[in-house]
């Protein structure tokens, strides 16, 4: 669930007891959408995945004055080094009279043979090219 530009949004992955219920579910959802005045609602089938999501090892944070291209270039910079994005969050902070700040946080898995010097170089190039702050750190897991 998130609020994107003031629009409430959510995405759910559900399992149906049997596929014949799908049309009934779609009809019920459409009725609810009409009732609530929702702007968009979609029901799509997805293949069950048995492979477990790889565990994130690091966090990449990126933030700076908002402009188009930050997400694209950040994702491209790390993808070139075989880094997998496991989770991604963004936040836009707007305040009248101040520049809007865009923040992006990616939980990532580094490949076992990652070339850290090359990855650091790519992140530095991202920082200077996009004029954003970029920070790569190991994900802290606090075992209790």
């Amino acid at each position: 669930m998130s609020i994107l530009r003031g629009h409430f949004t959510m995405m759910l992955i559900v399992s149906l007891p049997d596929d014949s219920k799908r049309e009934a579910l779609a009809a019920d959802l459409d009725a609810v959408a009409a009732d609530l005045g929702l702007e968009a609602l979609a029901l799509s089938a997805v293949e069950p995945r048995s492979d477990i999501t790889p565990e994130a090892t690091h966090v990449v944070s990126v933030y700076g004055v908002d402009h188009p291209g930050i997400v694209h270039r950040a994702a491209a910079a790390i993808a070139e080094h075989g880094v997998n994005i496991v989770d991604l969050e963004t936040r836009l902070v707007e305040e009248s009279g101040e520049p809007s700040i865009y923040a992006l946080l990616m939980e990532v898995t580094l490949p076992p043979d990652v070339d850290m010097a090359a990855l650091d170089g790519a992140l530095e190039a991202l920082a200077s090219g996009e004029r954003v702050e970029v920070n790569l750190r190991e994900l802290d897991t606090h075992e209790l």
């Binding site: 969050e89 936040r91 101040e98 700040i101 606090h142």
Partner: protein, 175 residues
Amino acid sequence: MAVREVLRFPHPALKTVAEAAPLDGSAETERAARDLLDTMLSFGHCVGLAATQLGDMTRIVAVDVSEHPKAETSHGLLLLANPRVVGEEGGEVAREGCLSIPHLTANVRRATEVVVEADALTLTDDGLDVSDLRIETDGFEARCLLHEIDHLDGVLFLDRVDSLTRDVFRRKQYR
């Protein structure tokens, strides 16, 4: 009195590592220390400020948590040049605000007990006294010291949050 403007992100000074503060009777160190203190005191509720937040790229911080209800341990007013964290223990997540990112607060994990060594500065009518200081502190004062020392290394709380949706909050109003 020289109350200075507190810089806000994205000002580049906030992301720059500060230089060691010279202590051999440096007029610049004294000026930066006086401005830092005057500016901190001009915000009644301010518990800490770093020289880099004023655009002075010198390693000086001011911390005073003595009036703060959350502070169990307080060493009073600390005006520290070249502070170094020499010991850290424990960890706790708590909410932080920052005058340089005034519209947000964030949950940040920091050590609960720290040992800090620094050159303690005392402003006098005719200059600046310098003495070696080593303090052991905990809780809120430890957190403030770590937050301000982060500023000297160009580190903001946005560099330390684990989640933008769960750990960063918009401030409705700030004093």
